[in-house]
Subunit: 229 residues, 2 copies
């Protein structure tokens, strides 16, 4: 399956500005992109990076490996719909699903339905498989609800997958906490799939956080993201 992975190399993860500098956010976003691409490959998908700007001279250039890169600076939904028009079936998987594993994505790719959705927290759509040519994405607002309605409008059947791993898109500090708790386990699964495919795969996002001194501590009884100086 074609798997389109939209990516912003310039100003990713703006809600993590309190934790990371812009240069660090670019590195972390590239590490997550590498993890997502490894998970897609491990699930048997063919990833294509849909970049909002050229990747040259950014940390993401090394993370993409042999995946083709298309640069399209239009708004996200418009660029994704143009990519979908290049050939169906296709999936769209967000680049910040740092907990994605080959198994979780394979379940998505294999689920029957004209439109198959993976829920994101906060009403979002973290991944979607599109098999109906009339369906268009719109990531504005409560996109999960809107995508169900859009599929029904064009007579497409809708299915969902139930996945915590695909439900966590890394947006704010609470999401970083989930990556810290569950990221190593996800990396192990991607690495095992990579070895089976003859590819190498590291623990990019979890490893980057560890190198940056970011960890979970219990503060006032609550799990909290802290950063060692």
């Amino acid at each position: 399956m074609r798997v389109v992975v939209p990516f912003d190399p310039e100003t990713p993860n703006e809600r993590l500005s309190s934790l990371f500098s812009l240069a660090e956010r670019r590195e972390f976003a590239a590490a997550m992109l590498g993890d997502v691409l490894a998970a897609v490959r491990g699930a048997g998908g063919r990833p294509e990076v849909l970049a909002a700007a050229p990747l040259a001279d950014t940390p993401a250039a090394a993370a993409v490996g042999d995946a083709p890169v298309v640069v399209d600076d239009r708004p996200l939904s418009e660029a994704v719909n143009a990519a979908l028009a290049d050939g169906l079936p296709a999936a769209v998987v967000m680049a910040d699903l740092a907990l994605a594993t080959p198994d979780a994505l394979a379940a998505l790719f294999e689920r029957e339905g004209d439109v198959v959705l993976a829920r994101g927290r906060g009403g979002g759509t973290n991944a979607v498989v599109v098999r109906h040519p009339g369906f268009r994405v719109d990531y504005h607002g409560v996109s999960f609800r809107d995508h169900v309605a859009a599929a029904e409008r064009v007579g497409a059947t809708v299915a969902t997958v139930d996945s915590f791993r695909l439900g966590v898109d890394v947006d704010d500090e609470a999401d970083v906490l989930d990556v810290l708790v569950h990221g190593a386990d996800a990396a192990d699964q991607r690495a095992a799939a990579g070895r089976a495919n003859g590819a190498t795969a590291g623990s990019a996002a979890a490893g980057w956080l560890a190198d940056a001194g970011v960890r979970v501590d219990v503060v006032g009884g609550e799990p909290t993201v802290v950063r060692d100086e």
Copy 2:
């Protein structure tokens, strides 16, 4: 399978105080409890409510149906460990998993392993199946990580299930948003399972929110919980 459902009838969901009065929080918590019990029954489990205080004269009294209720006012982990000592295998399922469905819980109950964990957001453990007599729960801190370590210490095998539905425990407004977006779908699945079992099942938590005028609106481009006056 025995399924222990801990429940606080007195001061539930304190982080929702900005949205609901204490009386309302008790009603909403009771509605979620009813949903969780319906999902447990739909998955073939035998629910037992582990109440931190008597349910008489609280909205939860009507929600429990024919489930036995044990009152234990000790701290959560201590009370749960006492309940587990009454007989294994047993599951512990949090009472605020308003998106739980029979399918998601059945996958948990059926997964092999001495200790089977369902991740909660923020490092939590939203549900666990225990088949090893040496395992003890401890819900303080980063409980998911601690439960994996505790299982390994007693030589128990550990497995996990990957579920968005079991990953959302209703703690704050962001969780209420997920209930608003995905709760009706979960209620439909519980109702279908209830009809198959000859039981009646309503859409308790999602219905309660609708009756209270709580809905999702898009504010400044972001999905947001709003309450009509």
